[in-house]
Subunit: 254 residues, 2 copies
């Protein structure tokens, strides 16, 4: 059985890519075969794992029906972790996909054969900072959704927007999608702001919150410049420990 999770939040810079890379790498380290798909034209998950942004070997031609997903899967230095990269041209895909009949199910249709083959225990989808057609394709293809929430005011304000969007997707293109959890990221225990945001969210969402909280940790922001996950770059760091805890909790939930 393959479980597909979309890592989504339309607010920018909240830790979607950092969570996608390090959760996927942690799952692979625990022996779970994992596929990470980079759905952001910025291609940060691609470069963050040291891969090249290859044109025509990315998710872009797959969404247009020109390539099969299985033909663009790349191995990484991490055993059991595979990646489908992104490229800049993906930004133009939204206007191209909008014209197709199956504009919401392009990703789901390309994933179905890979899911049927049962190659992977988990598929992680890194989404761009918007609620456009690429993110809607991810929410239509996913079984669950993990929402990284930066412990800041604007991120808190945007939480209701993504929650409303999930309800709309449940009522239309994907009745099965459920909230996997809200994950606090960049938590800084020296600031009241972080504590206030966590307290406010805990009051509103009794369940649906991950117990693991990801601290602000400079090692996490240094790792991508070396093209490595946190487990290769700084395995003993607070960031690495937090993402290991997250993977344990994620496996228990899924």
């Amino acid at each position: 059985n393959t479980h597909v999770t979309a890592i989504t939040n339309q607010k920018g810079g909240v830790g979607k890519t950092t969570t996608s890379i390090n959760l996927a790498a942690a799952l692979a380290q625990k022996g779970k075969k994992t596929l990470l798909i980079d759905l952001d034209p910025q291609a940060n998950a691609t470069s963050g794992l040291g891969l090249n942004k290859l044109s025509d070997q990315s998710i872009y031609p797959v969404l247009l029906g020109e390539q099969k997903l299985v033909d663009v899967i790349q191995e990484t230095e991490v055993p059991k972790l595979h990646v489908v990269s992104s490229e800049l041209d993906l930004a133009g895909a939204e206007i191209e996909i909008a014209r197709m009949d199956s504009y919401l199910t392009r990703l789901k249709e390309s994933l179905d054969p890979v899911i049927a083959a049962g190659t992977y225990a988990y598929i992680i989808l890194d989404c761009p900072p918007s609620l456009g057609l690429i993110t809607l394709n991810a929410l239509t293809a996913a079984h669950s959704l993990l929402v990284p929430l930066q412990c800041e005011y604007y991120a808190l304000e945007g939480l209701s927007v993504i929650m409303d969007m999930v309800i709309k997707v449940q009522e239309s293109s994907n009745p099965k999608i459920r909230l996997d959890g809200i994950l606090f990221t960049m938590f800084d225990n020296r600031t009241n702001l972080s504590k206030d945001v966590v307290e406010e969210v805990r009051n509103h969402f009794q369940d649906g919150l991950y117990e693991t909280v990801i601290p602000r940790n400079v090692r996490l922001s240094e790792a991508p410049s070396h093209g490595e996950s946190i487990f290769t770059y700084a395995p003993a760091s607070r960031g690495a420990n937090a993402y290991r805890d997250l993977a344990k909790e994620y496996i228990r939930r899924n």
Copy 2:
């Protein structure tokens, strides 16, 4: 004469809204009548100044030609600072605008009467984290572009993307647009990463860099939850001083 600047960077969470609000407020404090236009469906610049997200009184109906810009301008608690708010429905505008002949000049056409009236010294455009049609409208309407650059690896990686986009806009819909400057944001002098990013950018872009560097300062992230600019919320903070310096430098350049 009215000078229009777009605050743009497709990377999420780099300080576009924080810079838009605090630069606009600092210019108003220096006696320059300033209009801030929130072009992001997240409407962070709107709530960050304590304004409501009013449907049909935002930039959204203006881009569709249903309202005049002058009819949706709101005053703020800051004298000489006016705002045009945003709303969530703006996210759907890209698909609607794409079908219009003047899909690149919707904003420019709505700004022209306000510029002709000469009411404002400066107009600041806060852009969403993408290079879609809303941002392209901003780059087509603007005289210059200010690029906030978070001192982190992914933000550095994305810099060439926005620079390439500006060249394309200069060659097509707006030959007059020029780079106003790159502004370092969230600089943390305790980390090597910040210093490395600044050094690398300074090597590549000898000119075109603001001398002012915005430090990471928690007061800047607390201010929006009070609906105030940094000058009202924490006027003696390092964040307030940095944005005052920025305004001085901005006025010298424009």
